[in-house]
Amino acid sequence: MSSAAAKKLRPKYLNLRALLFEIRLPLPGWISILHRVSGALLVFPFAAWLLYMLDRSLASEQTFQAVKSYLDLRLVKAGGLLFIWAYCHHLCAGVRFLLLDLNRGIELVPARRSSVAVLVVSLALTAFFGARLW
């Protein structure tokens, strides 16, 4: 590349406004960025939160009951629902990425179709486990 071409100013649209309102990310792109967001949420705070609840639930009969009544709080249930979604989305999108790594479904049409499947399956699983939590 010549230095003139390298220095040529190119427009950049990578600001939050552009990301939210101007760039129309295709569904596989949304699956990907949500995979990243859900992964970050699972590392922190959800891993710490679940480990804390596992710790308390196994410590004694009393602390087990305390975790149970803690899980009855509405705000805690909302947090639990967010955790379930993050876990299900991360898992489903992750399986899709594993298949893509194995060159399965890398053409445009199947790739878009599988991203719809990830969205539908992960939301269905979230509804299923969320209903059991609630």
Binding site: V43, A47, A48, F64, L91, L98, D101
Partner: protein, 114 residues
């Protein structure tokens, strides 16, 4: 293209592969746990305690936890490399992540074998 060998020098291929293999381990554990939670008897304290008193369950949970911290390290490092440009801040956050994940692992062992 450079020929990359998993067992060769550290190209990042090992992290890439480890992240995927640990993912498969965690999917397997998740399926087992989901079946236990959904199909088994209602979870009372004694059911819960006995489940985690089983040797296989403790080992499986430990394997899951090791997979999780390894997987999470690769993923967090990717995120930090993508978004955090100042070297010092990135290093600090990476060190923090390592400490956090090491803490998770130690805590898990303590919970499982108390």
């Amino acid at each position: 293209m450079v020929k990359r060998v998993v067992v060769g020098a550290h190209y990042g291929m090992r992290d890439w592969l480890a992240q995927r293999l640990t993912a498969v381990v965690m999917v397997a554990y998740s399926l087992v746990l989901a079946v236990v939670l959904v199909r088994g008897e209602p979870i009372t304290y004694s059911v819960w305690r006995d489940l985690f008193a089983e040797g296989w369950m403790r080992v499986a949970t430990l394997v899951f936890a090791v997979s999780l911290v390894w997987h999470a390290w690769v993923g967090t490092r990717d995120i930090l490399m993508d978004y955090i440009k100042p070297d010092g801040l990135r290093l600090a956050l990476q060190v923090f992540t390592v400490l956090l994940l090491a803490g998770y692992l130690g805590w898990t062992i303590q919970v499982l074998w108390r």
